[in-house]
Symmetry: C2
Subunit: 445 residues, 2 copies
């Protein structure tokens, strides 16, 4: 029988195991944490995520679409909370498309269940990777409690072990391996809005809530139990940065003056503040992603990004879809498929890393800017008038599987056009005029 080893039973590792199992592989996954399904533990990261088109495609392929949709909440747009408490709803799409709030832990459990249900997948928990042989595609794992070591059979080895991947660390020690870990100036802290007593949501359920405040922002995603998971994205340094918010009074003052409506919804703010860590945000870039036709990285291990486009998981799932496509096309010629996979995915990983950083600026800043809102309005009108001629960047990234790099390039082209359109005289009044619409059509060429 054909064997494969996967390091990491997170979202991407569990999904990849299903794909490999369906190809007839005996798969052993080694996971350093305990079994999520037995302990009431988070996977160590933010507790909910936004599923979008690329993620759904990968889940549909393994037949999980319907099951996940039952536990996911569609968010049809952004709900912007201004400082004065006024709300603005910005739909994500003209077609009623949504991104879906799901629980990271819940989704991970479903994927592990599905992997095990294949019959040829074993997940070994509490096994930490302590050594990797890139030549043979074998790895050594040590059981956390007993210290017992397992050395896997030579063959195929996949690193789906996240931003601090042990498999990648072995690759980092090889000559000519390019690697970058870049921490951004902002960190994050998770907070929460509890449900109403009857279990309903305190604010609009079917939206992603944003409190954009320039240098920082608060967001909230809905959970099934009526609560919201909120995340404060905030610089470490500066006058009101995380480091400066070092007393309860300062935290309360900061929230009262900066997010007054959210503060009213968070009577337990200080409990959350103390209980939840302040976590850093890192971008990982590296190349190559594969070695010797035997070892490959997928997901955050090869391209960890900041969370501001909601694409981290979606990009990792798409790695699986694309890798699987190349296995099909090459008739499972692993060395060739691995080369094709890394060549196809690397520029797309770089593109979504760039897009995610840019979307941070948009979310925390531009969503509160009338000029930005007008531009979106013009784009929406034009897209409706000329279907197929114009797709906003956000839609390309979120509601299609156009390669990220291609979407990014097209987005830049469209941005250049919109810059000219926004400079037209009296654009505020004429924005929906025929003149503006024909100008756009002409510039598109």
């Amino acid at each position: 029988m054909k064997n494969a080893t996967i390091a990491g039973a997170g979202l991407v590792g569990s999904l990849w195991a299903v794909y490999l199992a369906k190809r007839g592989y005996k798969v052993d996954i080694y996971e350093s944490r305990t079994d999520l399904r037995k302990a009431n533990l988070s996977a160590g990261k933010s507790i909910n995520l936004a599923l979008s088109d690329r993620g759904w495609k990968a889940l549909e392929k393994v037949g999980l679409g319907d099951e996940i949709r039952k536990v996911a909440i569609p968010m049809y747009g952004r709900m912007i909370h201004a400082l004065d408490g006024s709300l603005t709803h910005q739909p994500y799409s003209v077609n009623g498309d949504a991104i879906w709030s799901v629980s990271r832990g819940g989704l991970n459990c479903v994927l592990m269940d599905l992997a095990e249900a294949q019959g040829n997948v074993d997940i070994h928990f509490n096994h930490k990777c302590t050594g990797v042989d890139l030549e043979t595609g074998s790895a050594t794992f040590s059981e956390r409690n007993s210290g017992e070591k397992v050395m896997t059979e030579p063959g195929l080895l996949f690193g789906t072990d996240g931003a601090f991947s042990a498999v990648r660390k072995a690759m980092q020690r090889t000559d000519r391996f390019n690697y970058q870990q870049e921490y951004i100036e902002h960190g994050y802290k998770e907070l929460s809005i509890h449900p109403n007593e009857d279990g309903t949501h305190k604010i609009e359920k079917n939206a992603l809530h944003i409190w954009p405040r320039g240098e920082f922002m608060l967001i909230a995603l809905p959970n099934l139990d009526g609560s919201f998971t909120c995340t404060l994205f905030h610089p470490y340094g500066g006058e009101v940065g995380f480091d400066a918010l070092d007393t309860d009074e300062k935290v309360v003052d900061f929230f009262k003056s900066t997010f007054p409506d959210a503060y009213e919804l968070m009577p337990h703010l200080l409990d959350d503040w103390h209980e939840n860590p302040t976590s850093s945000l890192v971008i990982i870039r590296c190349f190559p992603w594969t070695k010797n036709g035997k070892v490959a990285l997928l997901g955050d291990a090869s391209h960890a990004i900041v969370p501001f486009y909601g694409q981290g998981m979606n990009a990792g799932f798409e790695d699986c879809t694309i890798f699987e496509k190349f296995l099909e096309e090459t008739n499972e010629d692993w060395p060739t498929a691995m080369k094709l996979y890394e060549e196809e995915r690397k520029p797309n990983g770089d593109a979504i890393a760039e897009l995610a950083m840019r979307n941070f600026v948009e979310m925390r800043d531009l969503t509160g800017d009338p000029k930005f809102l007008l531009q979106k309005q013009i784009e929406r009108k034009f897209a409706k008038l000329h279907p197929g001629k114009w797709m906003p960047l956000y839609a390309m990234v979120t509601f299609t599987d156009i390669p990220y790099a291609k979407a990014n390039n097209r987005g830049k082209f469209q941005d250049a056009i919109m810059e000219e359109i926004m400079a037209m005289p009296n654009i505020e009044d004429n924005w929906d005029s025929d003149e503006v619409m024909s100008a756009m059509l002409e510039k598109l060429g």
Copy 2:
């Protein structure tokens, strides 16, 4: 007595030990290699280097200027070897300034001797760093043969252990440590031109020889024994890249057609080719460079660069000069001095990394370009006419201690002016006219 530990007895580590010893520290240097002075070994890198102003300043401060000058060969300019064998000499400066070819191993030996001569410096060879405690500033070293471990006293710990620094690796594992290793497309291989039978040099002794060929280049630096150390900087990939030169015949054909005059001087080319490895070239960027006021990185450990500006060692030595300056200014307040050191040096490390990559393009390409030569000529004339108004970028980097970042910015400003000057009509004929000189003066503002 005050203690300090240094990991790495290379050029920067040995020099830094002298500075610390002079401040009254008992210094222990741990070096993973054997004693260079006892074995006939190279330090594992290119066997000669170009000393320039920043390097000399640091050496003069410890009284080594005269001793090193005796074993260094001044190179007053570039000697460009065209494909047809014709030679062009490009002086480095209008004032007769030179860069100096020295033996890396020889210089390292002198610096180790000087360190030991202080009386309070011990160098422990064959000790590999196996652990670092960033909190206490202590490190563990393992003796290569016996395996015996030494744990140093808590206190000050300096990583001068090069591009693959073990001290930095410990810092890499801390939260929010930014790190990048970037391999360029080119590698290098060392070759040689032997002396004449009477011990004289076969080509001009007092020049740095360059065979610029667009995508790649050969250079040669003079040695005291009449030989030259040559380095081929060459892409790995491509039609004639290292990977493609896989038979003796292909190597010989390549040299005969690409470097015909050099080929004639290298009857033992193939011996060198097989004996010497093809080595990669890496750029290392990271931040912070210090931790907890106790641990600091100097030299390649914090900012390894490509060798094309001849500034790697010079920049490392300047780290010592600047760090020492801050120790003096802060009255040896280490935490403050470390902060000042990293804040001052980081942008300069980034600048010289960028400049070194740009100089590669200049060396391998532009030095054979008549337009480039004309521009240099105009700059030289203007600099002579208006002393103090214009200093070519190369001179700022090589013959002054203007901070690299400042030199880089000034260089870009001057480049913008030269671009306009070179676009003046008939510049080839009028280059030394009053009109051109006044135009430059005016643009300088």
